[in-house]
Structures are given as C-alpha cells and as structure tokens.
Symmetry: C2
Subunit: 473 residues, 2 copies
C-alpha cells in the first residue's frame, strides 16, 4: 500500500469510526446471536489475491459489528469501563504509523523519553508520592494491564524476599502472597505464574461492612506463615476492588508491611483515575508505604486499552530482577547506565509506542478536562444511587465512592439473576453482577464519555419496570 | 472530542502518517542526540487546559520524530524487522475506534470468533500441522510477543510435568527448561518468571557449523537431569535464531521430547513468516512433534507490533493451567463450554481486538502478496550475500536461508566494531551485531517493504568505502 493509497483508505476508515460513534446509541449494546454466528459468516480460507479496503469495511459492517458488545456505548454499564476517546485513538494511530520499537532506549530514544516524562506527568496529576518519580530512585512504565503490573511487582518482591537469590535459584522456599478475599483474580494468577501456586496466596478476610481488608487479619496471617517457616513476599492492597470499589486501609497495611519488610503493591486499576480530583485523593491515603502502584488509564481516563500505568519506588530492584542481556541487545547507551531500557521493566521484550496515546489525551483534555470527566462519572453514579435509596423495592449493597453502584432488588438471588437477564436482553443497557457477602448483586458502572443523565435514567426506568413484573410473580 | 472533531483531526493525522512514510528515506535512520534530549524539550508538567491536536502534531514534528530510530526506513537493517503496512495500521485504527474488550467470548463475541478464524487462516497459510487448528483439539491465539508465548508455553509445560499439581502447589521440585546456546533471551526470562531461575535453564551446545542445537547433547542433558532427580519440563527449539537464523533440527528434537514426555515449544518468531512460501517450508520439518509453536506477524509479515501468533496442540491443557474464575466474570456462555475465552490463553486479563489488523493485512495482500513480500526479502539478502562472497575483504559468518545476512570484515573484532559504528553514524543505514563462535559479527536484516535493491546496494557501498579506510590503518 503506497502512502497515497493509505491516505485515501485512511480517510475512509476515520469516517467509518466517526460514523460508528455518532450512531452507537442506536445499536443494541450486546448481540443476541448464539456462539459461532460470526465464525460461520467468514470464509474458511484466506483470499489468494488481494482485496480493496472497501471490501473489508463492508464485511466489518455486515459480519463483525453486529457481533460486538459495544464497550463505548452510552448504555454500557458492565464490568469496569474500558473507555477511550478521540485523542487516544489518534495518538495510537500515530504509534501504529511510526511502527518503532521501544524495547531499549537505543532502539528509539524518543519512545522511551516521552514515556518517562509522561509517567512523571501522570504522577503529578494523581499527586502520587514523590518516591515514584523518575527524578529520584523510582519511575513509571506503561504495562499492558494491571494483571501484568501485579505479576511484575510479584517478581520484584520475590527477588527481594529471597535476598537476591531468586533470579538464579528460582522458587526454592515457600513464598507467600497476601490480598483480601476481594482482591482481583489477577493476583492469584500472578502468584501462579510466578510459581507460588494458588496455595501460596493468602486471602485475608474483609470487614463485612466496608469489604475492605482487615489489617489485624493480615498481621495474623503473616505471623502464622513466619512461624511455619514460610517467607511472606508481597501484599497486594486494592484501592477500588472489582466487586464493590472497596478501599483497603493502605496506611495500616503499609505499616504492617514495613514492620516485616514485605513488598507492598497497591492495585488501583480502576479507581486510581479518581485521584486526578483532589476531593477523591483520600482514597490514596497511605500510598507513601507502597513499593509499587498501578492504575489503568484504559479503564476510566479516556485512554484506549492497553495502557496500565505502573510505578516503582526503586527501579533498580525491578531491573535487577528482570534483566537478561544477550549480545545482540548490547549497546553503548545501555552500558553507560545513563538511560532507561524499558524491556527490563516488563515481561515482553518488544514495546509499542504507547506513550503517544497518553500524550494526546493529556494535552487534548488538560488537567481540567480529565477532572470534569471523573466528576461526571461520580455524579451520574450518585444520581443512580439516589434512585435506589428512594425506592423500597431496591437496596444498595455497598458504598459508591466512585462511579460504580452495587445494588439489588429486595428479593432472592433468582429474582436478581432474572432481573439482570431481562434488562440486558433489551439491548438498551448492559450491566454485570458480583456477589457481596454471598448474595447476588447487580453492578452499574458508569464510564463512557457518551453516558449522560438520560442514559442513567433510562437504565433506572428499565429496572423499575422489570422489577414490577418480577415482584408481581 | 465529538465524532466530527475526530473526523477532522483524524484526516490530519492520516495525512501526517502518509507524509511521514513518503519522506522517510530522507531522514537519518537513527538520531545522534545524547540521552535526555527529548525529555529536556518537553514541559515538566501536563497542561491545565486542553490544547488542539495541531499543537501536538507540531511537537511531534519538532521534538519526537527527530529522536526516533525509524524502524520502517528502507535503510533499517537492524535486529529483526518489525515491519508494518498501511492495511495493518488501518485494521488497528478500527480496533482503537471500536474499543471493545475480548477477554471473554461474552465480552464481545466477534472479537473472539474473528481471532479464532484468522488463526486458522494463518495455520493454513503456513501449512502448519492440522493439530494446531481450532477445528480439532488445538487452536491459536494472538499474544503480544514471542516472549509471552514462550512464557505461556512454559507454564502449560510445568502444569503437565507436575502431573497437574503445579497450579495449586507451585514450583515444588526442580524443573528444567532446555534450549540451545543460541536460543532467545526470552527463554531464560520466561523460566525466571516461572520460578525456575536461571539455574533451571540448560543451554545445549550447537553444531559449530550450523549454529543449530545438537540433539545428542540435548538427550545427554535430559538424562543427566533425570538421574539427578530433576524434572525436565520444556524444550524450546528455534526456527531462525536471533543471532544467525539457524534452524534447529525440530524432528530429531521432537523425537527426544516424545520419548521423555517433555513439552516441545517451537519458537519461529522471525522465520515462521517464511513458511507462507512453499519453497521455504523445509524450515518447519518436524513441527508435527510440537506441543506449541509461535511466530510474529509483527516481524516479517507486514503486521504492526504487537501480534505474535501462538498455537497449541491441546487447548485444554493450556486453559487448565491458566484459568482463574472470579464471580464477576461468570457468564452463561462460558459455563456452556461452547466458547473460547481467550483470557485463559494469556497472562493479562484484558484483550485488544488485534485480529482486525491481521484481517486487513491478509485481505489486502492476499496469499500471493504475502509470498511476494517474503520472496523479496530473501532475494535482497541473497543479493547482499553475493557481494560479500565476491569480495575478499569480507566473509560470511553463517548461512542466510531467510532475509538475514551475518558477515564480517576479515579483520579483528575492534575493526568490525568500528566498521559498524562508522556506517551507522552516516544515518543512511542501521545495522546491529552479534557474536558467532565468540567473534564480533555484523547483521544485515532486510524486512521493510520500502527496502529495494538500491538500498541494499547503498549499504554495500558504505561498507566497502568504510572497510577501505579501516584496512588502510
């Protein structure tokens, strides 16, 4: 494809996306077709000769789009948001077009340096402890996801807990990881990948009122493991759990970690974005204890997946744990020690220029624009929670400090399951569920920049109408 | 940013990329500025108020682009290529614009189904063994990189080698991984991440003529480990090593693995793309022994990073090793067993819709177009190797079955180091180096679709002119 062919086809694809966004609200949020529908509509073999881009766009419309769940739809309230925005798409487009590799500073210096500066910008934006800035001993890096951030933190923690032997000897003792029973599944997955096994993870009980980790229970678990001869390696605290956005008491947890010399990783995948607003920074109290911290701009900060922002307080520990240096990557800049080689901060070797999408987002919106986005989500969630509170047929299942509301119909689990199924079947909204204290609970997470009061009110109307049907049974 | 603002800014960014590609050849391949130059030119804080896209594009031109190594430049011959193409950029642009999540089938069915079909297309394109097709017990998935593919293969291998205990108990014995001394550094990194430590990796000697793993040495190492009570878990064979594109004897290695029940992973990160051409499929002999296989369309198949294509012969083993199921991800489709949930095939939970870029590439070029691209690279490398062969001042350091040529000036390591430094300093080309049998060796890897005979000849002229200066010392 020549540059001029790209120019023409590129304009067509940009227009296609603009039209998709402009008409998103008219589509059902989720498809209703059974498994295999999309696959059956595609040819079984690749084409022998090339085809024009228009043919692919036609099949995109006819086959692919009808089979999507539309995560950017204003009626999408499932999971946590994975919102994106125009400037993010454009920054990522530049990254695709440049096609450079940022594995080493030397493989494309600007790719590394823009990322380092952007991570310092983000640290300021969230008012993170200064120990995470690259101007000191720390620094930030973009990971694909919070799962990978937790894995990398676990590896650095193992290296520390082993007294620096882990890199050579591997898992030679029983190391332990700790998180609350509401910690994300990626914590167990990271521990499994790292060779601790599911048995190596201690799920610490939460306060039944707040769903937050109980520090006394953490201390007891650590002391029991030490008494058994095991080695506590890492504690993962969560700011904004996936089930209910509970906030673990990071300061108290941090004090325990400091006492026993255990790595503290703080996972704020979704709720970290809230810290752009000064009035929500209470959620990050105690973060000065953390050895590492991450949040996902790709969840609630208008930046497309994949973009997890991960910081460490001591980049030397991380690099020492992960570096492997073959001859074909040796270069003068790395050996000078004056540069960052981000390949040593992550699992993969190769790196896309992901800082560009963050740069486009931060510059287009500015600090004030990003605050407005977060405040809009919090206000919409509060508006929805007010409806729940005012209606005796429903109850809130947890606090809603951010943009997620957990609630249920005052009825049994079956009725709530049926409620969720029915409102999702309308195609107007998409909500998902969790369990709180064992009970089936609906989750409404606001996040799309297209979501307005009208969409939240429509979700409420659907819920009320369906509840009437169910309660009348 | 409204859809119409996106439309206008999007056209400008597409034009910017088209202009970048059209003028790429006029730029120096690599920047000459010292570390810190780009960072120093950027503000220390994010903007308070938003800025227009034009302001960002202006800074891209003024600050970022001068600090890049241009991997798509026709004079880029370093590492392995990471080539992209117009259709890949457009497919990825659609992915960014849709912003859907493919972690579960249920989170966006078409995202999963298109990927499954595309991986079957690719398996046909490379004529891979039928056991890797999703229509049987196997299947393919897109990973970010071959590093992650090797890691995932290592985890599944550990689960098998432990008799299914690893998932719960973790690393409870001394497991071993095997690869040649020319195996990629990501194999050691994967073993380290998985908790085997560097000590758990056996680097098997290579044939000094072919740089390919010696099966007899592999067998001896396995038997020694078994005798010591250790557990051989995985062998990683390479088709196209990073140093010299050596091809390990996969059939002989596979027979050893079959005899001892060891997982065989075949890493064809760069050279796998060659198998689109029937005349190069000899390189994949013996692949029917493999439990898993990967290659990178993002290296030599015109698809932008990140796109590693990874297949397993038994998807059940992989999923069993990696699955963790929290309540908030439970859904009827997953529980029916009728769908693929790709989150269980990879380290992260979240997934971008990466199949789109492959789809755009396969349809724009067709099978014949992709074969023409590979053949062009092989022919250009052969043309360059002919120059080396015909000139007594130079020697080839290895065979060149694909598009990489390893060579050196008939002089000492210092002269070759200086040769590389001087030709790279011209800004016209960028080559990198390795060591073969301990000797400093230059690598010229062809891969950019913009590279033609003229560019290879220019590289040759630069080498000859510089060699004259050096040999005259």
């Amino acid at each position: 494809m020549t540059p001029d062919e790209f120019r023409r086809a590129g304009h067509a694809v940009v227009d296609w996306i603009a039209d998709y966004w402009a008409t998103l609200e008219q589509r059902p949020v989720t498809p209703a077709d059974p498994p295999g529908t999309v696959a059956a509509a595609l040819p079984a073999t690749p084409p022998t000769a090339g085809e024009p881009v228009e043919a692919v766009l036609a099949d995109l419309d006819a086959i692919v789009v009808p089979g999507l769940t539309h995560w950017q739809h204003p009626g999408f309230f499932g999971y946590f948001p994975a919102n994106t925005s125009g400037p993010s798409v454009l920054g990522d487009l530049v990254s695709s077009g440049l096609g450079v590799q940022g594995m080493l500073w030397a493989t494309s210096p600007a790719c590394t340096e823009l990322e380092t500066v952007l991570m310092d910008w983000l640290a300021q934006l969230l008012d993170l402890p200064s120990r995470f800035r690259s101007t000191g001993a720390g620094g930030g890096v973009i990971q694909d996801s919070a799962s990978s951030a937790t894995l990398v933190a676990t590896l650095a923690a193992l290296h520390r807990a082993s007294g620096g032997r882990w890199r050579e000897t591997g898992i030679d003792r029983r190391y332990r990881a700790y998180t609350s029973t509401h910690g994300h599944s990626s914590i167990e997955k990271a521990a499994r990948i790292a060779g601790l096994g599911s048995d190596g993870v201690r799920a610490i009980e939460v306060d039944p009122e707040t769903q937050a980790l109980r520090p006394a229970a953490l201390r007891a678990a650590i002391e029991a493991d030490l008494a058994a001869g095991d080695v506590p390696a890492i504690v993962v605290a969560t700011i904004g759990t996936t089930s209910t956005t509970a906030v673990d008491p990071v300061a108290e947890i941090g004090a325990v970690c400091a006492e026993y010399g255990i790595w503290l990783h703080v996972d704020a995948a979704y709720a970290g974005a809230a810290a752009v607003c000064p009035e929500l920074r209470w959620s990050h109290n105690g973060l000065e204890y953390a050895d590492s911290y991450c949040f996902d701009p790709h969840k609630w900060l208008l930046t497309g997946f994949d973009c997890d922002a991960f910081w460490v307080a001591d980049r030397g520990e991380l690099v020492e744990a992960l570096t492997v240096l073959p001859e074909f990557l040796r270069n003068a800049a790395s050996e000078s020690g004056a540069v960052i080689d981000y390949r040593d901060w992550q699992v993969p070797l190769g790196r896309r220029f992901r800082a560009l999408k963050l740069w486009f987002v931060l510059r287009w919106y500015g600090v004030e624009g990003l605050r407005a986005h977060i405040r809009s989500g919090v206000a919409l969630a509060a508006r929805f929670a007010d409806r729940i509170r005012a209606d005796d047929r429903f109850e809130l299942a947890a606090a809603h400090p951010f943009s997620l509301v957990c609630f249920r119909l005052c009825a049994d689990d079956d009725a709530n399951t049926e409620l969720l199924t029915r409102i999702n079947r309308t195609g107007r909204v998409h909500l998902t569920h969790t369990r709180v204290a064992g009970r089936y609970t609906l989750r409404l997470a606001v996040g799309s920049p297209q979501t307005t009061e009208r969409h939240v009110d429509e979700a409420w109307t659907l819920l009320v109408d369906t509840a009437d049907e169910l309660l009348a049974r």
